[in-house]
Amino acid sequence: MTARPTRVEVSVDPVRCAAHGLCAVILEGHVSLDEWGFPVVDGTPLETARLARRARRAARACPRRALLLKSEPVTGTATTVSS
């Protein structure tokens, strides 16, 4: 499958967030939880298709719909990605 590479940035709406913590489980390594259970996004962009899928899954899983995704196409040549 050939896909145009995209970079996904994840951010948390701090008003909606209620510390359910699912984002930290699904995006382990990219989102951690503070002492009160609220997410800290480490800021590294998610640049693989697999990570992009995980990010979308995390956004859907959040009971408060507090995880927002921003996708930007990364300019450059398309790469072959296995799903």
Binding site: S11, D13, P14, V15, R16, C17, A18, A19, D34, E35, W36, G37, F38, V40, L68, K70
Partner: protein, 435 residues
């Protein structure tokens, strides 16, 4: 920086309401400048359509509500939005001034209302917007009275004005934040909102909205009248524009509003306008969520962006709160942190949970628990940037700058002992219903 001082015009002064030293504050000493008086100094002329943004960019006007956002960029963003959308939402003038010790906006609104109204009218005209909302806090009775009278004069004179609407919101600290004002004007609670887009893209009801501080509007009117070059040169160094400040703490007249024209240091303002003869122990610069600086450092600091930034501070909402040698900076800070913690919206977990903890921990430090200093640093870092608005960021800044500036006092606040001044009556004012 030195070059800018050399090229500034010879005038360099500190003005008050009614004397001729100021630019914005010049005019009648008593009461407010009615339309006829106002028009003897300010013609209210407007630039040619389409020219305003370039003019503002040349002058370098930055928002005076605390954020210092470049106004040209804000207006340009708004004007880039589709016309049918950006003309659908009113311009909002944020005249809430929730900062407890700040009085510069109150002074402009109650003494020079037509400057604010001229500025708002001209930006509304440029944006093609037919309505301006003037948002104030409940209890700002004098400002409401003067604004109503001033608007009445403008109607009677048949000025080419937008429709003026007065909005009164709850007098809470966080209710003065821009997105909280928008939320309230929409009919919702006066609580900040989180948005990935600035208000100029998506504000009231998702429409592009220009919301700015009342002083920013007055400065805009002044800049259009004087021309960007003269307006910019009237500021302290590379600052841009005359600077309105409120003095607080141990000055001769706490609550005094002064206007700095031309280059000046903090020390010069405190000496000439505050009655100080020597550097104080410390100065809180920018607001209660601002930066503590040691007195001798603040004293020499030029009141321009570069100078303040070099000391890690920013002008914020123009507050200079002076701490004398016989007060305890840690105790004062603990009280401010406690109050600020209670003024949060309670919407964002890290802020709602972290600030009260920061408050009680700072209380412990003020009471002699020196060992909590690392915990204070940790808490400040854990709340910084974690909310929908910059409230927790400001409290973190206040706490960190206090720990740095009052480092010598930390050595005395240990093992249950405090410095000899910790028990004195608090100096910095908080709203009357606070303990």
């Amino acid at each position: 920086m030195t070059a800018a001082y050399e090229t500034a015009p010879g005038r360099s002064a500190i003005g008050r309401v009614g004397d001729d030293n100021g630019v914005l504050l010049a005019g009648p000493v008593d009461g407010w400048a009615d339309l006829a008086t106002h028009r003897t100094r300010w013609t209210g002329r407007r630039p040619a359509p389409g020219r305003l943004v370039d003019l503002i960019e040349t002058g370098g006007l930055c928002g005076r509500g605390g954020g210092q956002f470049p106004f040209a960029r804000k207006l340009r963003t708004l004007l880039d939005q589709p016309a049918h959308r950006r003309t659908a939402a009113p311009v909002v003038v944020n005249a809430s001034e929730s900062e407890p010790a700040s009085r510069k906006d109150h002074t402009l609104l109650t003494r020079r209302p037509h400057l604010v109204l001229d500025g708002a009218a001209l930006v509304a005209a440029e944006a093609g917007v037919g309505e301006v909302v003037l948002h104030l806090h409940d209890g700002a009775d004098e400002a409401v009275r003067v604004l109503r009278a001033a608007i009445g004069e403008r109607h009677a004179a048949g000025l080419d004005d937008p429709v003026w609407r007065l909005s009164l919101g709850p007098a809470r600290y966080v209710a003065g934040e821009a997105s909280a004002v928008l939320s309230f004007v929409e009919g919702g609670p006066a609580l900040p909102r989180w948005s990935p887009e600035p208000a100029a893209v998506s504000g009231l009801w998702g429409l592009p909205t220009l919301i700015s501080n009342a002083e920013t509007m007055a400065q805009l009117a002044a800049m259009v009248e004087l021309g960007p070059q003269e307006w910019r040169d009237a500021g302290p160094g590379p600052w841009s524009g005359p600077l309105l400040l409120t003095l607080a703490g141990c000055v001769t007249q706490p609550g005094d509003v002064v206007e700095v024209v031309g280059p000046a240091t903090v020390g010069r303002v405190l000496a000439e306008a505050g009655g100080l003869h020597e550097p104080p122990a410390a100065v809180l610069v920018g607001g209660y969520a601002g930066t503590w600086l040691p007195g001798p450092v603040a004293w020499r600091l030029p009141l321009d962006r570069t100078g303040l930034a070099s000391a890690g501070a920013s002008i914020g909402c123009g507050l200079l709160a002076v701490l004398p040698a016989d007060a305890c900076g840690l105790a004062e800070t603990a009280r401010l942190v406690g109050w600020l913690a209670g003024e949060g919206a309670g919407q964002c977990g890290p802020c709602a949970l972290g600030l009260p903890r920061l408050g009680t921990t700072f209380d412990a430090l003020a009471g002699g628990a020196g060992r909590v200093v690392p915990e204070l640093h940790r808490l400040a870092a854990s709340v910084d940037g974690r909310g929908a608005c910059r409230h927790p960021d400001g409290v973190a800044r206040l706490a960190r700058s206090a720990l740095q500036t009052f480092a010598a006092d930390l050595r005395r606040h240990r093992w249950g002992r405090t410095c000899e001044h910790a028990g004195r009556a608090p100096l910095l004012p908080l709203p009357a219903d606070h303990r």
